[in-house]
Amino acid sequence: MSSILNTHNLSIGYSKKKKKIVVQSDLNLELKAGELVCLIGQNGCGKSTLLRTLAGLQKPLYGKVLVDNQELDKIRIHEKARKLALVLTEKVDIENATVADIVRMGRQPYCNWWGSLSEADYGIVNEAIEMVHLEAKADCHLNELSDGERQRVMIAKALAQDTPLILLDEPTAHLDLPNRVEIMLLLHKLAHRTGKSVVISTHELDMALQAADRIWLMTKTDGIECGVPEDLVLQGHFHEAFQSKSYYFNSANGNFSMNYPMTKKVWVEGDKTRMYWTLRALARAGYMVVEEAEVVIKITPECWIINAVELKSVEELLTKLEGVV
């Protein structure tokens, strides 16, 4: 597969009063066609700065960004609009504008100064609206839409721009869980079906781990680690990137777990489904699960058993434990 985006020894950051403030340096990234990449990292490590630099909204401090093997700075602005499309965090609120109006703006880089769209343009616009499942709302005004739907409108606009590369800055922020999942699935499908390359900056770690083909894991000090999500997990990169006193990256389930102070010991055995949730409750209540513990909890599909006493709920279990441990 050919690569659509490359960076060569790229340093990103800001110029402030002639002083250059470098946020990240010597980045050598590569993005292949048809790949969905999630850019993750803690707040303030430079995710947005990188995305803005890749989008050409701000200049690299040093090094180069190559899109389609052409240096980004040297591509003319309307040419650039045919190579990469953006979905930003800025809220778009336009009086009277319909969904179709916004998506049609995606065709702007292709039409003449008078702005008339051809049949083919309308076809592409409709296709883009269908891809984000907003056909039924094409003529609705923006202010009649939910936040998730608005985000899908902006994605449709980017699709209508018909670029090999789409960059999205925090597309799932401000959305509830079902909408977040839907947007991620949609982007995943789009990348694979249309062969577009998609870069998403996000701090939804679990979502990124499931949807991304590759992950660019950004740390404050050690640059960017690139790889297939599972490799990064197994090599312990996540653990390093997200270290903290109060939580840790749990390689077993790809989530963050809180570092509860564990003082009391119990042992658990039995039903698998109930086991997971029982362990969570025990961790929160401060119980360490060890084999040599005196108290043993037996889990059956219907109840929990301690010292031959049957308990019907986790709540009862925790109350009972307080008495025996």
């Binding site: 040419e79 953006l86 930003l88 009277n96 702007q108 039409c111 100064w113 008078w114 702005g115």
Partner: protein
Amino acid sequence: MRSRNFIYFAILLVLTMLLFLSDLAWGSITIPFREILDVFFGKGESINTEILLNFRLPKAITAILTGAALSVAGLMMQTLFRNPLAEPYILGVSSGASLGVALVTMASGFLPAILMNSGWAMILAAVIGGALVLLMVLGVSFRIQNAVSLLIVGIMFGTIAGSVVSVMQNFSNPDAIKLFIMWTFGSLSAVTWTYMQALLPIILLGLIMTMMLHKRLDVLLLGENYARGLGVSVIQTRFFIILATGLLAGGITAFTGPIAFVGVAIPHIARGIFKTSTHKILIPATMLCGASLLLVCDLISQMPSYTLPINTISSLFGAPIILWIILKKK
């Protein structure tokens, strides 16, 4: 959608024409429509011909130009700043113009006598004052990243100009102050055929520039970063918008004096009627709405038996519309 817009345009066009004819017909003397037609076909001989050709006709044309120019300039400012209360004077054009006029009327002792007591002196002063402020704002616009700061720069220039005018008023004689105050009331009848030869090309140029910008204005509604992402050079577009606004608002203010509230209110009326955000439709719609509203204002201001300043009437129309916008937004 298209046919509905077509009907609205037809209605507005007919309305503007009717108002134009009424503006010619009614006033301190009523001229019958028959006679108006006669004059147009070169048959009229009476005193009415004189009134019509040299007074009412240029005034009615000025009303149309003023309405169209200020409203379209307002539309551009509202789009550029993405603020429903932005207006053509927000960049300080009118303050600059009024500073120029104040210099001519009140500080005239310091100026060469040849410049005085001619209509051109005031116009020239207004043009120079407005253009200077505009040039400063344009200069700043290249150095500033976001449009909101530009808005503040415009307001600050305006405040400075306003304060200087106040200081001058303090040291002027009552006659000079009265002359200046009269200018601030605005007057459509100040534009004679001689002035029209200068005003008309300026406004037409401004309107043509605006129409050429329509596609970029649409994209600017998404915000400056999205606009960049769609291949629009924001700095360049901003330059052209400010230039076109300068021609439109500056040109009108120089010849008629400041006319308030048209620029902020009319674009909202046009949006309300056409229910669209597309500038290809909004620009001509705003022009027609502005032209008809200014014709109505002019009709009221030239009612028999009393004459009101046009600036007062346009404010009486405009201010309630702004209130309505704010209440509707809630």
